[in-house]
Symmetry: C2
Subunit: 220 residues, 2 copies
């Protein structure tokens, strides 16, 4: 997969469905790289222009402000991050026994998101670094999470709790522990210790084993 493709794939949620010009893609590429490295506030538009090989004015032809450029990166990244939960068939698949156990569901999400994080790491970095500073981004995250992720996740958890497969913690706690465990691996693996000699398959097995034992329903 070449450079143009991954960017267009990431951005396919960005509203403007038309193709991006070559210069526009160079701008986005450069901005993602530099925002990820130095942060949004510490990156100047002139630096972005230089790295992208365009004039500074060209940036402002496509994005009215620097912040609009940030949002053009961050919004599609958020939507792609939760993409599995946005699919209409998603929750249905669970109830039609696509996944016999909660573990099957966790494994599917894990593998799917593992590929995603690997591919779009810089854009994901930008998202999480800047969500702390920009109210618009935080609001987007909250909206997307409550409207899509939480609702569907809840149904899935309730389903497996009724089957007696996982502990009778409050659904919110089960969701939190599941996400925390998976995201905790990704954060350690890709952000905190990316240079450590990871055995990804083995670590996934251990982590999922840990998660399932932690959530397993105990006999009364």
């Amino acid at each position: 997969m070449n450079e143009e493709q991954w960017l267009e794939e990431l951005l396919k949620f960005n509203g403007e469905d038309g193709k991006l010009s070559e210069k526009q893609m160079k701008i986005l590429e450069a901005a993602i790289e530099m925002f990820a490295e130095k942060g949004y506030a510490a990156t100047s538009t002139s630096e972005i222009a230089k790295r992208a090989g365009v004039a500074e004015g060209t940036i402002f032809r496509h994005y009215k402000t620097k912040k609009e450029l940030l949002l053009a990166i961050v919004t599609p990244t958020l939507l792609q991050s939760v993409a599995p939960f946005l699919a209409k068939e998603f929750a249905k698949e669970v109830f039609e026994h696509q996944y016999e156990h909660y573990e099957d569901f966790v494994r599917t999400v894990w593998k799917n998101r593992y590929e995603f994080v690997k591919k779009y790491l810089p854009a994901i970095r930008v998202f999480w670094q800047e969500v702390a500073f920009h109210a618009e981004i935080k609001k987007q995250l909250e909206t997307v999470f409550t409207a899509h992720v939480y609702e569907k996740f809840k149904k899935i958890v309730l389903y497996f709790q009724e089957k007696g497969e996982i502990a009778d913690f409050p659904v919110e706690s089960v969701i939190r522990l599941t996400i925390t465990t998976i995201a905790g691996f990704f954060a350690t693996r890709f952000i905190i210790m990316p240079d450590y000699d990871w055995d990804d398959e083995a670590e996934m097995e251990r982590t999922i084993q840990f998660l399932m034992n932690g959530l397993r329903k105990k006999e009364a």
Copy 2:
């Protein structure tokens, strides 16, 4: 505990053991608040001076550069964050059966760090927000972690693994899963969803139960 005290307590690791002048403390307070809110790069020294009620020049009398001011906040915060592991008696306590089970150890760390996070949240925010952008901070974190936290944590885990209390995962994995689970709660509780109606005691109980079941050694 009044404002002066908490700041001085946080900073008691900062090398200069002498007391801070009133204006100096106002500067640090203002800087912590504003760095936490808007980020280091987006906060100007003139704004800090205004909020602290001092002249801009006063900041640069105490800190040669803006970055030195950041490090004066971030370094003591890192050291306080891992304070329990810095105590000489710490590992010894474990082997002299201060903690009969791994769970006792986890509970002690949890409660201790819970109070800490609650008290110094803004400074902790600054640390984690800026560690991504400043190589010096990242290096400090690595040094402190490998020299103090990892070494002692490892001994504790090995001890309870030999007792057959926790699973024979690699020590690194046990440490990662433990930290991830505890830090995952703190991050959700204080950063991601601070306004949610938390029952901290109950959530701690569930999380520790989850962690211990996840790590428990299975019969062969």
